[in-house]
Every structure is written in C-alpha cells, then in structure tokens.
C-alpha cells in the first residue's frame, strides 16, 4: 500500500497559523486534507499539491485580514461578525491596555528598549531623510501651476552631424519654425540665462543671475506679476525699448520694496532699461536664483542664423495633447527640416521631454541608488531588531506560558506582543523623523549646491505619510515572527526550570541563523556598493586634470558691454594684470576666458588653412575655444609639450598665434606636424589666420570624468580684432607664493581702483573649484559609505548576538564536552566554525546579489567596473574577518564554561 499522501507541509503550517485556534480551525485543516487526499488519489499528486497551496494561501489571507481588522478595530465589522460581538468600548480599552502594558514592559527593560529604539530611529530616519530629498527633487512637480504639462524642447546632435551633443540649445529659426508649426503645444517660449550687472539701488555694484525671455514665458508658466506687468508682445520687437521685470527678492534687497519701482529706469549691463513689473515671491525661472528678466528680442524675419544655437525653449501642452503626440508630431517636421537643410539637419533635430527632466535628470540615478541602499539598511535594522526581540522573547517565555495557562489565547498574546513592536516602532519613527530633519539639512549642506531644487526639499504630507507607513511596515517586519514564536510557548518546557526543549530551541536558533545570514548578505551588498563608489571617487581624484591647483587664486570678472568695447576691455585687463603682478605675494597673474571645471567648454567650428576638407563638408571641424593672456599656462601649471606658451609680445600688431592641446593635435593632424599650421574661426573671412606656435597638455575643462576635448587657445591680447566676445568675460588666475586667500583683499582693492562698480565673482582658491566639481560624486560616496558602515556594524552586532545566544543556549552541552575531556581549543574551534559557516553563507549569497545588484550603479561609476574584483574580494575578506571577530568573543566565553556549574543548572 502506498503511503498516505501528505499535503505540502509548509503551506499547511502557514495555514495552521492563521485559522482560528478553536475547533473550527481544526476542522478546516481536516477538510482541506481530506479533499487533498481524494484529489491526490484520483488525479495528479502534483496538481493536488498546487491546489492545496492555492487554497491555503487564500484561506490564510482571509483569516489574516480578519485578524488585522480585529486588532485595528473596524468596529462596524465587528458588529456584523457576531464571532467578535464585543462592544466597541472593550476593543478600544483592550488596545489602550496593551499599549500601557507595552510601555511598562519597555520601561522595565530600558537598555533593551533604548537599543531597539535607537536602531529603529536610525533606520527610519535615514530612510525618511533620503525620501524627503527624493520627494522634493524628483517627485514634487515644478513650482508652477500644471507643471507636468510643461515640455522642454531641445536640439540633439548625433555623431553623424560631426558633433555629439544629446541636449543642445536652439537657433532662432529652429525656434520660430517649431513654434509656428506645432499643433500639440499651446505656446512655446524661449529663454537664455545671462549675468546682469546692476549699479542702481542700494549697495555695491552687483552681478545677478538673469534671463532674457520671450514675453509669452510668463503666461506659459501661469505666472502673473505682483506689481505692474510682465512682458508683453510689443517688448519682443527688436526695436522695442528695453524693459525688465524684477524678482521679489531683488526688489526688496536693492530697491527697498519701493512702491514707485514701476517706471523707474535702471542700468542693466550699462543699458538703461525701464522696470515694468515685479514678480511675486517664490517665482524664479529658469534657475532658482534668477532675479531679473528682460525681453529676448528675436528677429523672426532673419533666416540665416540657423546655426547659432543660443537659447532654450519649452512649451505647454495644449488641452488634450500628450507628450507622445508632441513626439509624434516632431517626426514629419524633422524630416521636412532635413530635406530643406540637409547640411544642417543631418543628424541634428529637435526632441521633447517633460521639463522637470532637465533639472533633475542627472541626479536621479544617484538618488534612486541611495534610496535603494537606505532601504536595505532598514531591512538590516529590522533583522537586528527581530534578533533582539527573539533574545528578549527567550527571557519572557515563562511570562507567556503563565498568560497562556491563565486563559489568554495565542491571538491575544500575539496581539500584545505586536502592540509592543508597534510602540517601539512608533517611538523609533518619531525620533527618526526628527533625525530626518537634521539629516536632510546635513545632506544639503554636504552637497553644497550640487542638488537641484534643494530649496524645495522639506517635510510635507508625503514625507510624513511615507515615514508613517514605513514605521507600521517596519514594526510588522521585525515584530511578527518573534511574536509568533513567543506566543506559542511550549508550556511544559517553559515551566520547567531550565532551557527550552531541544527541538523548539533548535527551530528558534535556525530562524535566527537565517536572519544573520540575510544580514550578512545585505551588508555585503551595501559595503560592496560603498566600496565601488569610494574606488570610483578615488579614481576620479587620481585623474590628471592637466593643471595644478596649489597656491592659485581665481576670480571671475564680467565687464558690462554698455561700458566696455573690446579695446577698452582688453586695456582694462592689461592694466589690472599689471597691478596684480605688483601685489606682494603674487608670483604671476594672468587671465583666461574659461576656467577649467568652472566654466565648462565652449565649442565652435574652425578651419585649417589650405585644407579642403572643410569646404567639402566631409567632416565638421570643431573644438573648444579658449583665449588666454600670457602667463595663463604658467600660473595653472599646464604642461608645455612643444613650441612655446603665449608671451607679452603676442599682441595686436604682431603675427596672430594660437596654441593647441594634444587632443587637438592627435585628432586633426594625426600624421602631420601641426606646428606652423594656421587656423581661424569657421565662416569668418575677416578673421586673421593664427599660426600654431605651441602644443600644451590636455586640460579637463568640463569635469574630471570627461575625456579632454580638442581645444585651441587664441592669444587674448590679439582677439580684440576678430573676437570681441572673448574680451569682456575673463577669469583671473593668480599664482601666489603664500596662502592664496591672503592675497584676496589686495586683489579686490586692485579691481576696485580700476572700476568701483565691477562685481567680483567666484573669488576662491583653485582647490575650491576642484572640490566643488567633485561635490556630487563625493555626496553619493559619503552617503553610500555611511550606509555601508552602518550595515557593517549591524551585521557584526547580529552575528555576535546570535553566536552569544548560541553559546548560552548550549552551555550544558559545552559543559558536558569539557567534562568529557574536550580542550578549550576544540571548544572555541567548534563555536568559531559555526560562526564562520554562517558568515560564509551570507558572503556567498551577498556576492551573488551584488553581482546582479551593482549593475544599477554603472552610470555613477568612473573607471571602475560594477563587478570590480578587488572590491569584491576585499569586502568579502573584511566582512568574513569581522564575522570571525564577532564569533571570537562568544567562542572564548564558551571555553570558560564551568562544567560543574553548567551541568548542575539543568
């Protein structure tokens, strides 16, 4: 006779937990078993098992839901359900009683309660903090009405165009054509940021972030003026009088909130402009520091400037239109452009995306990574707290047994224990929220301006709801299993004055081991993540930027075009550099149009004398352009490869010269000698040819993680003749013999003497510029490092706790072994071995999880593979070592067991 078929044991065990523990539950289990048996005998055994699992799940779910309803009192249901026909007051009273009892219990064990609460507060707080950043930056809509319908319009250059810019600005005819042809947009506005020098009003001359915008921008953003008006269509006309709109802060700060501000004329970059309105507080666009708006006067009749991409655009979706429709509409439009302007629109087209993407897109991967990591930290916290509760439960087994014997049902005890978890979690949650407030501020400070929308980060309803939900979920995750184990006391052994029965003890031990292995695995994952970030950051720092930062002071000046023409600007810098060079402590001063890591790179086309490829249009020749004064390369410590640097003799009247970097030499003269070749801006027949007189090392202008771009330098004293745009905006580079900032006051004074109205921007040591460029990777690295460290600590505590418990639990056995002649080496080997086995299992699982999991970090790592073997090995060894250490103490304790005492205690 074949053995009687047995339903899936695990499913049956689960179901047994959830069905009512009266005769009813028993009959349910029996019914299912009976039906299972008849199904198994008449059909496929496998089918029957599957059927059983489904039934068990459904019934468990039903009874679990009922239990929850009962505990968290939906009293209306209670009355319907006569099985629970207790009046409402009693339920409330019972919960209150449980809470009171829980608080009393926790007060009686302050060390335990404090440990649990602090651990939980850290876990919940870290999660709430990261979530509030994610919420403020990624989830909240931009601060304009119906902001989700605002769509950014961008240009894109694919490599086939000769450029590779996935996100680029627009040229006036591109904007005009799109604006006129689109049917999915209610309207399209254009804007460009610029710096405005203001001299009117209170205080020194000041440079404020400003934007020139088309007049419809304000109506698109649904933003009316607070005082006066915003821009109107007439202001867009190229011949219109210049007008400006002020931000609320600017109006108050510089003009004392004067009521008669509208109609006043103020100087903006030397141009008298009429103030027509003030925006309400809180309005800012495109950046959150933009203070002034002037009309962007686009000449819509001009069609010849399709390649001067100089502003950005966005639209608002028309009623009923979707982003998909806007994308679909672009396809035929772009095909038409390509047919009409094949030389311009091959591999170059417009595309659209929600406006918020451009603002937060680059930080999204880092924030999501951190959110995931901090979630794992919380899981580890839960595992640890569950472990603590289990240990505490061991001490309370007698209490539970007494309650059970006095008539408390398993459910009643379970409810009491879950209330305790909930009380712990709630206190932890409240503290966590407080920590989150502090932590969020710390994070924003840590990233020092690198987080977009940082001023929109804060506590709001969503953060509170998230934290509340997290707290409830957490209390269940860490509380349910310990509570279940404690609530089913093994009466007989609990009343016996000894340790638990072997089987029950082993089951509990097994569960704790599972917890520790999971903790180890999660820790490995997090520590590897942290390790990769640290290595990547280290690699970034090892990158040669191509210049030196030591003893260098920099400052940026922007001469207002109304007051300075190219010649006057050039003379200004010549005089200024002369004065600065005379300051004691200054070794050499120079100036450049772009400071590495601060001003990015500006790319423009150029042509090589006698090279036909440019005219043939075979490939576009473009490179970054920089213009520098004599001494720039020396002050920045940029390497000379061949030829010479710029000298004071390179001025108007002498032969026009240029210097190129190695990347440019490699790219455009792979087989020839670039020295002596002549280049000039493309399409500028009036520009003189500049002979290449030197080759210098590559400099990272963009950021440390981006390969150097081909770059050419024009001698700044010569560009007044052909490139006025390279004369007014300059960064000073001052090499000092002393601490760089000690020279700053004298530098300021020198500038004031020449032009008291000139604002000085970004006066700082070059080391600060370097540090700022690393702010974001450092932010991610530090947070990942903290999470990894916490994971490490909690993992170690977890292992230690379980091993200690194991030793305490096996005191009799160990005593017996010692009595039978086992040496202390053998005993400690046994305990250590067990710890190491657990650790290795955790390490193995963690490494597999890490191989799969770290892939999401790819875009955040620089020169480090997501499966970097060194990091994987180092972290595995580190965690194993910590696990050995954490097992070592309990192992030593085990050898100290007094066999007599141990055996007597049983």
């Amino acid at each position: 006779m074949s053995p009687r078929p047995v339903p899936p044991r695990f499913a049956e065990a689960i179901l047994a937990w959830f069905v009512p523990d009266n005769g009813f539950g028993e009959s349910i289990l029996g019914d299912l078993r009976e039906e299972f048996a008849s199904r198994a005998e008449s059909g496929s055994r496998l089918r029957a098992s599957q059927w059983y699992r489904v039934q068990a799940m459904q019934l468990s779910g039903r009874y679990a839901a009922r239990a929850l309803l009962r505990i968290f009192g939906r009293t209306r249901r209670h009355r319907e359900d006569p099985f629970e026909s207790k009046p409402r007051g009693e339920t409330v009273g019972r919960v209150a009683q449980d809470v009171r009892y829980a608080v009393r219990t926790l007060i009686a064990r302050p060390a335990f309660a404090l440990t649990v609460i602090v651990t939980l507060a850290l876990g919940i707080g870290a999660n709430a903090a990261i979530f509030s950043v994610v919420n403020g930056v990624l989830l909240n809509p931009l601060p304009y009405p119906d902001a989700d319908r605002l769509i950014g319009v961008w240009g894109r250059f694919l490599p086939e165009s000769g450029f590779d810019f996935p996100r680029f600005s627009l040229a006036p005819p591109e904007y005009v054509d799109y604006k006129n042809d689109t049917r999915t947009m209610e309207a399209v506005a254009a804007y460009a940021a610029f710096g405005a020098t203001l001299i009117d009003g209170d205080g020194d001359a000041e440079r404020v972030n400003s934007a020139s915008v088309t007049s419809n921008l304000f109506s698109l953003l649904r933003a009316p003026a607070l005082v006066g008006r915003t821009l109107i269509a007439e202001d867009d006309h190229p011949a219109a009088d210049p007008v400006v709109v002020l931000s609320h802060p600017l109006w108050h700060r510089r003009f004392g909130g004067a009521a008669d501000i509208v109609g006043r004329r103020i100087s903006v970059n030397g141009t008298r402009s009429e103030v027509v309105g003030v925006m309400p507080p809180g309005f800012s666009f495109p950046g959150n520091t933009t203070q002034l708006w002037s009309a962007m006067q686009i000449d819509e009749t001009r069609r010849d400037n399709r390649q001067s991409h100089n502003f950005f655009a966005f639209g608002r979706l028309a009623g009923g239109a979707t982003l998909e429709a806007a994308e679909a509409e672009l396809e035929p439009m772009m095909a038409r452009w390509k047919a009409d302007f094949p030389d311009i629109h091959t591999g170059h087209f417009l595309w659209v995306e929600p406006m918020i993407e451009n603002i937060v897109g680059t930080i999204r991967p880092a924030l999501l990574l951190l959110l995931g990591a901090v979630g794992f930290v919380l899981l580890i916290v839960c595992a640890n707290v569950a472990n603590l509760l289990l240990a505490a439960g061991e001490h309370r087994r007698r209490e539970m047994a007494v309650r059970n014997a006095l008539g408390a049902s398993r459910r009643r005890i379970l409810q009491q224990l879950l209330t305790e978890s909930a009380v712990l979690a709630s206190i932890g949650g409240v503290l966590g929220l407080a920590l989150a407030v502090v932590g969020t501020d710390a994070m924003i400070a840590l990233n020092a301006g690198g987080i977009p929308r940082a001023d929109e980060i804060g506590l709001d309803g969503r953060v509170l709801a998230f934290t509340g939900l997290l707290t409830v979920a957490t209390s269940f995750v860490f509380g349910i299993i310990p509570a279940m184990q404690s609530a089913s006391p093994d009466l007989q052994s609990a009343f016996k004055d000894g340790t638990t029965s072997a089987t029950a003890g082993r089951r509990r031990m097994r569960f704790r081991q599972v917890l520790v292995v999971s903790e180890m695995a999660l820790s490995i994952l997090l520590v590897i993540g942290a390790g990769l970030m640290i290595k990547s950051f280290w690699a970034l720092q090892q990158e040669d930027p191509g210049f030196q930062t030591g003893n260098t002071l920099v400052a940026t000046l922007s001469l207002p075009s109304g007051d300075y023409d190219a010649k006057r600007a050039s003379r200004f810098y010549t005089d200024l550099l002369e004065d600065i060079n005379a300051i004691p402590g200054v070794e050499r001063a120079s100036a450049v149009t772009r400071l590495p890591l601060l001003h990015g790179r500006g790319v423009s086309d150029f042509e090589i004398e006698g090279d036909a490829s440019n005219e043939r249009g075979e490939f576009r020749m473009n490179a970054a352009n920089v213009s520098a004064r004599a001494g720039y390369f020396e002050t920045m410590g940029i390497r000379l490869v061949r030829g010479r640097f710029f000298e004071d003799t390179d001025r108007v009247g002498t032969a026009t010269v240029a210097i190129i970097n190695e990347a440019m030499a490699r790219r455009f003269w792979p087989d020839e000698d670039p020295m002596g070749q002549r280049i000039r801006f493309s399409g500028c027949d009036a520009c003189p040819w500049a002979a290449i007189v030197g080759i210098v090392g590559d400099v990272k202008y963009q950021n440390l993680g981006t390969d150097p771009f081909p770059t050419y330098y024009f001698a700044n004293a010569q560009v007044t003749e052909f490139a006025a745009f390279m004369t007014r905006f300059m960064a000073l580079t001052v090499k000092t013999t002393t601490e760089p900032l000690s020279v700053a006051p004298a530098l300021r004074a020198a500038i004031r003497r020449l032009d008291p109205n000139l604002p000085i921007l970004a006066l700082q040591p070059m080391t600060d510029v370097m540090a700022a460029s690393l702010a974001r990777p450092r932010f991610t690295m530090i947070l990942m490092g903290i999470f990894g460290g916490v994971a490490l600590l909690l993992g170690a505590v977890g292992i230690y706790g379980v091993m200690s418990y194991g030793v305490a639990h096996r005191t009799n056995e160990i005593g017996l072994r010692i009595a039978l002649g086992a040496g202390s080496a053998q005993i400690s080997r046994m305990v250590l071995g067990q710890g190491i086995r657990l650790a290795l299992l955790g390490v193995g699982i963690g490494i597999m999880a890490a191989i799969a999991g770290t892939r999401v970090m790819g875009s955040l790592l620089f020169n480090v593979s997501t499966t970097d073997p060194a990091i994987f090995v180092a972290v595995s060894v580190l965690l194993s070592a910590i696990a050995v250490l954490a097992s070592y103490l309990p192992a030593r304790r085990a050898t100290k067991v007094d066999p007599m005492a141990a055996m007597r205690s049983d």
């Binding site: 009959s27 019914d31 009976e34 459904q58």
Partner: protein
C-alpha cells in the same frame, strides 16, 4: 430581534444545503451541494466564515467527530440547523413568497 433580520442569500443557501444533507453535513459536502444545486462556485473561505457566523447567530449547531487518520488526525465538524435557524429560513422564504405574489406572469411559477 433576529426574526426581523433575514439571513442573506448565501446564508440561506448554506442553511438549505445543510438541511438537505441531513446527518452528513460538514463543510466539504455542504460546498459540493451548493455548487451542484445552485450552479455557482463557492469560495471555501466564504463558506467557513458563513458557517461560523450562522453558528454564532444560533442558526446552526455543530459537533466534532472523532479524529480520523485520512484527515491528518483531525476531526470533522458536523452541522445541523437549529429550530431558530429553520424558523428564520421560513420567515425569509415567506417574505420572498409574499413579495412574489402577483408577479407570476413576470417571474414564472414558484417551485
């Protein structure tokens, strides 16, 4: 009070099925009986909760059988309809019948 509250549709089905099954009414055949007669699928969970509820209302009484090995050493719970249960069923059926009166042309003959 309970004669003012009629058992619900599903409750009536359960009561009727138990009456039909006589002595052999435990959850498994009750479910089969309803599925067969009413031609509708019955979720076990719903059946168990209804049985519990009807017993708590006093419409059903139950007794446990001796445990049997094919049930993993567990007992069956046999149900019978109490006098109160029969009465409430009668009330409900009478109410339905009186509501049907005069609607035969629409609903057809009552069985």
């Amino acid at each position: 009070m309970s004669d003012k509250q009629f058992p619900g549709e599903f409750e009536q089905m359960v009561l009727l099925a138990i009456l039909r099954l006589n002595d052999g009414a435990y959850a498994v055949p009750v479910r089969e009986e309803i599925e067969e007669r009413a031609g509708r699928a019955v979720a076990r969970g719903a059946l168990y909760t209804t049985l519990e509820r009807l017993e708590a209302k006093g419409y059903l009484a139950s007794r446990m059988s001796d445990p049997t090995p094919e049930r993993g050493g567990r007992s069956r719970r046999y149900f019978e309809v109490t006098a109160q249960g029969v009465q409430s069923l009668q009330h409900a059926q009478e109410a339905m019948a009186s509501l049907r009166q005069g609607l035969e042309s629409v609903l057809g003959k009552s069985s």
